[in-house]
Amino acid sequence: MRYAFLDEEAKKEIRRSILKAIAIPGYIVSFASREMPVARGWGTGGLQVTLSIINEKDTLKVIDQGCDGSVNAVNIRNFISSVTNVDTTTDTKKATLIQTRHRIPEIDLEEGQILVYQVPMPDILETVEPNTAKAKIMHANADYSKLWVLLYEDTSMYGDSRISNRYPVIVHDRYAMDPSPIPKYDTPKLNNNKALQLFGAGREKKIYAVPPYTKVEPLKFEDRKFKIENFEDKSCQRCGSRDSFLDEVYDDNGITHYYCNDTDYCDSYLKNGAKK
């Protein structure tokens, strides 16, 4: 098997798409998208991005739903390390390259780190316009009126947007972007992040990016506050932290327990205390 699985031509094409994506923050770049040995919809876009940029010096972390140990994360990490010789870690701070599904790590990322998202639906306009040809024209004209109307209708009926995760954001005051299905809790972390954020959608054959220190704002009416998930007075039952996204876990007696969703954060909180 060749290094990082993909042939050099494929990697070159993907890197070119990534460069274009970085140059136009939030803009969706089309690419051919190779078939991976992992099923479509299971992170093939993130995988292709990761495999195209990974090298011997990298330290890799893979998370799925906040956890390094969940089946998909394990599977992808095993595959990447079987076709490269990189070191892997679960420690967010030690990782140079982090591939993620549906979460941004709790601990702030640093310059030089790259966060690769697995994206199921790359175009946020899909929620209001499923036809990709029409959506492309709407992006070109920065015509996001349909998203605003959706937001208005939801707010009038339910008091807030019904979109719970993959909440629409505006990147660098220009493109509306789908931030991958991260909870609203993570949306503010996209803004002015020190790390490079790359988004890969394999099935939909799209790549886009948010360069470090880029303005990313949720689509929101001026007189309405952006509300994130709220765990009120709950704390992690394992490490005791009150400042992280929590999973609700039901035990055999039907009692609800709360634990950190980011398992690495939970471990480090136990050891070192709160995040910086």
């Binding site: 098997m1 060749r2 699985f5 993909l6 042939d7 031509e9 094409e13 089309s30 690419f31 051919a32 998208s33 190779r34 078939e35 991976m36 040995p37 099923a39 479509r40 919809g41 299971w42 093939t44 799925d64 739903q65 906040g66 956890c67 140990g69 969940s70 089946v71 998909n72 994360a73 394990v74 599977n75 549906h102 199921p120 036809n131 990709t132 040809a133 492309k136 008091g159 807030d160 019904r162 719970s164 995760n165 299905p181 991260i182 909870p183 809790y185 099935r203 054959k205 998930e229 709220n230 394992r238 996204f245 999973d247 609700e248 876990v249 039901y250 035990d251 327990h257 634990y259 969703n261």
Partner: protein, 359 residues
């Protein structure tokens, strides 16, 4: 405790895989040649949807997936990504096919005749042992049947609408196009598409969402030589041959860009023996490029480029459908929170309205 259960991924995967291998290991005992010679339509379906012409690899993938043909195509497709491309063969002309089967329902009598070949189309489908009459197939001629498409005379008479030729065919495996989609890319997507999906899309047209009851002008199965320019001698060399199915179907007539009235046709082509798929593909091609003759509503699936380009690939749709099996507790947690606060909001509003009405 449940918390630790979600962390046991590594071992769980290993156990599950071992269990699966044990569960399906008898398939390994099937000889590749036996499988290729006996379940030939499965092999051809996998090659066609996996978009890699190798009967041997198709056989291995069918065994690896214990007969799940979508999964088998996926094995082939993934393997394909690890293959280095060495070049591009010469253009193929389906008229050059050495035919093993060829039928036309448009003409009673065609040059070269109807060639039924091997088919069970006219068999009574019952699971009872039928008495097979002893037939000496050695009596049949094995001469190469190379016959032009039955629609060629009409084309020569300038009666058939011809779509503009693309300078350079698109290659969807290297760059995926955005709308407007070149025809070569549309045909490629369909040629690798999932047979059942193509059939479903084509059937919508047959049933009235598109007004197409096409006539099969020419359906053919046969062998095509693959020719290559030799890298050193620069001469044309034959490097092998493939079996393929090609269909030309004829639809209604239409005015072309010069105002001439022309008969419209659609084209289907795929690896192996895949008649239903090739017929479906030709009908969709016909509907896509002649949608001014459609009836029904504005939105006709078989005439919608976006629908076809983004929905007919089996590997993609099957993978995504199965991704629902992955954990989604973060997204569900957020859904649940939003739901609870929306419910609370609606109840408060209702209460306010009620109070207002009572006053």
């Amino acid at each position: 405790m449940a918390y630790y259960a979600i962390k046991g991924g590594e071992e769980a995967i290993k156990n599950s895989l071992n269990f699966y291998n044990d569960y399906t290991k008898r398939s390994e005992k099937i000889d590749d040649e036996d499988l290729i010679e006996s379940l030939t339509f499965s092999i051809d379906k996998v090659m066609s949807e996996g978009s890699l012409y190798s009967k041997k690899l198709a056989s291995k993938s069918i065994k690896r997936s214990a007969g799940d043909l979508l999964n088998a195509s996926f094995f082939v497709r993934a393997h394909r990504s690890s293959c280095q491309r060495i070049g591009i063969c010469k253009e193929l002309d389906v008229n050059d096919m050495r035919l093993s089967r060829r039928i036309s329902s448009a003409f009673k009598d065609i040059e070269g005749g109807q060639l039924l070949g091997a088919s069970n189309d006219y068999e009574i489908k019952l699971l009872v042992d039928l008495k097979n009459e002893k037939v000496d197939i050695k009596e049949y001629s094995n001469k190469d049947n190379v016959i032009d498409s039955a629609l060629t005379p009409l084309r020569n008479d300038n009666l058939i609408k011809i779509l503009p030729k693309e300078e350079e065919p698109w290659d969807i495996t290297r760059v995926f196009p955005t709308s407007p989609y070149p025809r070569s890319s549309v045909l490629q997507v369909m040629s690798r598409g999932e047979s059942g999906t193509l059939l479903g899309f084509a059937y919508t047209s047959m049933r009235g969402y598109g007004d197409v009851h096409p006539t099969i002008g020419d359906l053919r199965i046969g062998e095509l030589d693959i020719k290559f320019t030799h890298p050193f001698t620069k001469k044309e060399v034959k490097i092998g041959s493939i079996e393929a199915t090609a269909v030309e179907s004829a639809g209604t007539f239409n005015k072309d860009e010069n105002g001439d009235t022309k008969l419209t046709t659609g084209f289907g082509f795929c690896f192996g023996k895949n008649e239903t798929k090739a017929i479906s593909m030709s009908i969709i091609d016909l509907s896509l490029y002649n949608n001014s003759y459609t009836v029904g509503t504005e939105q006709i699936v078989a005439s919608d480029f976006e629908m076809v380009m983004h929905h007919v690939d089996g590997i993609e749709s099957f993978g995504f459908a199965n991704h629902y099996k992955l954990p989604h507790y973060v997204t569900f947690q957020t859904d649940y929170q939003i739901f609870k606060s929306a419910k609370k909001y609606v109840e408060e509003q209702n209460q306010k309205d009620l109070n207002g009405a009572l006053k």
